[in-house]
């Protein structure tokens, strides 16, 4: 059965937490969005400052610029920055998944090249998984990378590529063996987004943002040593990468600032239904945070967390959507104008994406069902 052990952040993370809070207070001028969504605030200067403090790639080896710190310490930094509403999206993907992917599967040369730039807060990565005809069915990708001498020729289209217009690299899931089908013949390859033949076209989202894109690869030539790990190992790598993506505090804190503004709007002496709404939200968040920390403990112990991470994301994302609803119906009349309204509206407009990005609800339930032995 799925087990979420009693893990708590050690008391030695408290000094770090205080340092992060002080840093965030000093850098409040960087905070431009009212919400705590990891995808909305893109600020290279802020990312570089975090890098200077050693708060990107914290768990990675020192020889690649990492801090050799624990997953719990990393947890503290991620949850503090998110809860404060700090602009973390520039370095987010590189820190959370591209770096760990390279660390686990990449070549030594790749680690030496990319990881120090990531930890400095200077190299930002996009994810090249989805395609126009490939959503949840990731094994149906069609983008090809065909070897020609010591290069690969890439053709195809990636989509929903967050920040491709301002990031430096994209790690694409491609077919290096077009004769193979489904999970075979797939590889991951690092492409410089400034390469010739890479065309990045913005896609406006319903919230008014333009952070995701369509990326077209038209005869893009990439050195063969940009293949991540072994050619043909792409499916194993990409599923492992997705597990990293799924269990962190970003999976239940996207709507956190709505909660904070609800508490502010209700004031120190709330009506019964207002207090109950606040308590209901808090009870969910407290429990999910502990489950998420349990997964951090499993990562620290080197365990496979695929199913547990999917479960945390499933619960967390669903609640991120319920939270604004509870808040909307409980908020006092006075909140119709002001900070509550602003935070609520921005979060509400982003909320459809919560149960889509990083694996849809339907995919996650499938992963959990497999963990229960039903598939």
């Amino acid at each position: 059965m799925l087990q979420f052990d009693r893990v708590s952040l050690d008391s030695d993370t408290e000094t770090l937490r205080a340092q992060v809070r002080e840093f965030l207070e000093d850098n409040e001028s960087h905070f431009t969005t009212p919400n705590s969504d990891f995808g909305t605030g893109h600020d290279p200067e802020f990312s570089r400052k975090l890098g200077e403090r050693g708060w990107i790639g914290m768990t990675w080896p020192k020889r690649y610029g990492g801090g050799e710190r624990t997953f719990f310490e990393r947890y503290v930094v991620t949850e503090e920055t998110l809860a404060a509403g700090a602009p973390v999206s520039a370095h987010w993907i590189a820190d959370r998944q591209s770096g760990p992917l390279l660390l686990r599967f990449g070549t030594e040369a790749q680690r030496e090249t990319y990881l120090p730039q990531i930890t400095a807060g200077e190299a930002y990565f996009s994810i090249g998984m989805s395609e126009p005809d490939t959503g949840s069915d990731l094994a149906s990708v069609r983008t090809t990378a065909i070897k020609e001498g010591d290069q690969y020729r890439i053709n195809g289209t990636k989509i929903w590529t967050t920040d491709a217009h301002r990031n430096h690299f994209i790690i694409c899931l491609v077919r290096t063996d077009p004769s193979a089908t489904r999970h075979d013949g797939l590889s991951q390859i690092i492409v410089d987004l400034k390469n010739d033949g890479v065309d990045v076209r913005p896609i406006a989202n319903m919230a008014g943002g333009e952070d995701f894109n369509e990326v077209v690869f038209d005869d893009v030539m990439v050195p063969a040593d940009r293949i991540v790990g072994e050619p043909g190992n792409g499916w194993t790598q990409v599923t492992s990468e997705l597990a990293y993506e799924r269990s962190g505090p970003e999976r239940f804190l996207s709507a956190f600032r709505v909660f904070v503004e609800l508490v502010r709007a209700c004031g120190p002496d709330p009506a019964a239904h207002e207090a109950a709404a606040i308590g209901r939200i808090a009870a969910h968040l407290m429990t999910m945070r502990r489950m998420s920390i349990s997964v951090a403990g499993m990562l620290q112990g080197g365990k496979d967390v695929a199913v547990e991470a999917a479960l945390v994301k499933e619960l967390g994302n669903n609640f991120e959507k319920v939270l604004p609803e509870i808040a909307r119906l409980a908020a006092p009349e006075s909140a119709i104008k002001g900070r509550f309204r602003e935070t609520f509206e921005e979060t509400m407009l982003l909320s459809p994406s919560f149960t889509l990005r990083g694996g849809t609800r339907e995919i996650l339930r499938g992963v959990i069902a497999r963990g229960l032995g039903l598939r």
Binding site: R280, T287, E314, G366, L372
Partner: protein
């Protein structure tokens, strides 16, 4: 494994075997007809499980609550939560005890009050606790799961008791753990049924709709257990009451979701008296409302947070755990 963890594992393995052997459908049906499960109680006492958590027992309060979670998973039809708390609040002995809530000159919702050798009355408003050593049952009653919840006279000679952690919150914590175990049972029943039942030529567990339903139940079961453990870990801490509030409120919601989903999976069969599912769904439904329902505890937690203020909310969330 540490020594404490080993002790816990032995307790839980033994309890698991005992309940697996004795706590079957027949016993549950009989208990709901008012029959006291004497052989089961004797086995529990023979193993010393009625003293878990008591100072001289060599076990901890965390063992007590872990045991209750196992009791919930088997729908054990005895007032074990109450007997255990009484044995932790007073010098433990071998009696069967119960606890109820003061309501005027009565003590209400007393589990198995009719069999209890003493009844402890808790006044949630004042936190006052007193012991009634010769309880007189005024009325017999049951909750929606058919568990005896009797009314006992509050006598003037009741003896005041000092209890360290908030007694009402401790009672709520027993229900939180029973429910967490009960939701686990709902998940297991759902998986078993879906794997055995065939429709359209295959096990219904192969249908995506059923798989998703079970995934939802599994998520709620995992959340319930983590929430129960977190509140147990707060025993003795100044945050005990608010941690119990979060736990009981969260687990109550888990029951609502899991019970609804698991009944849908079971179809008409789960709606029959003959199937064992209802022993678990009715109990977990009833336990949601015992010692403060979700709304009650949400309000307590919410009032606490509102009082701290919006800018302290994160700090509260990020402390402990």
């Amino acid at each position: 494994m540490s020594e404490a963890q080993e002790t816990r594992q032995i307790i839980l393995d033994t309890a698991e075997r005992m309940f697996g052997d004795l706590c079957d459908k027949q016993l549950l049906d009989a208990a709901e007809q008012g029959e006291f499960a004497a052989p089961l109680w004797e086995q529990i006492a023979a193993n010393g499980f009625h003293h878990l958590g008591a100072a001289a027992s060599g076990t901890s309060a965390a063992d007590l609550y872990a045991f209750l979670m196992t009791c919930g998973r088997h729908a054990v039809p005895l007032p074990l939560a109450e007997t255990l708390l009484v044995n932790n609040w007073r010098e433990p002995d071998n009696g069967l005890y119960s606890i109820g809530i003061v309501d005027g000159d009565e003590v209400v919702d007393v589990p198995w009050g009719r069999r209890a050798e003493a009844v402890i009355a808790v006044n949630p408003a004042t936190g006052a606790v007193c012991a009634i050593d010769t309880p007189e049952v005024v009325r017999q009653s049951v909750n929606m799961a058919g568990e005896p919840r009797d009314v006992v006279r509050l006598t003037s000679d009741a003896v005041p008791l000092e209890v360290a952690d908030d007694p009402f919150a401790q009672l709520a914590l027993t229900r939180a753990n029973l429910m967490a175990g009960g939701v686990q049972a709902l998940l297991e029943l759902g998986i078993t049924f879906a794997s055995e039942r065939e429709q359209f030529g295959r096990q219904i567990s192969k249908f995506q709709a059923i798989q998703h339903s079970l995934a939802i139940i599994a998520s709620e079961a995992a959340a319930a257990r983590r929430a129960a453990d977190a509140a147990v870990d707060a025993l003795g801490d100044e945050r005990f009451v608010v941690e119990v509030a979060a736990s009981k409120a969260r687990i109550g919601e888990a029951v609502t979701v899991a019970a609804e989903q698991v009944h849908q999976i079971h179809g008409a069969m789960g709606f029959t008296h003959e199937h064992r599912l209802h022993h678990f769904s009715r109990r977990t439904w009833a336990w949601r409302d015992e010692f403060g329902n979700e709304f009650f505890w949400q309000q307590r937690l919410g009032a606490h947070l509102a009082n701290l203020g919006a800018d302290k909310v994160w700090s509260f969330m990020a402390t402990r755990g």
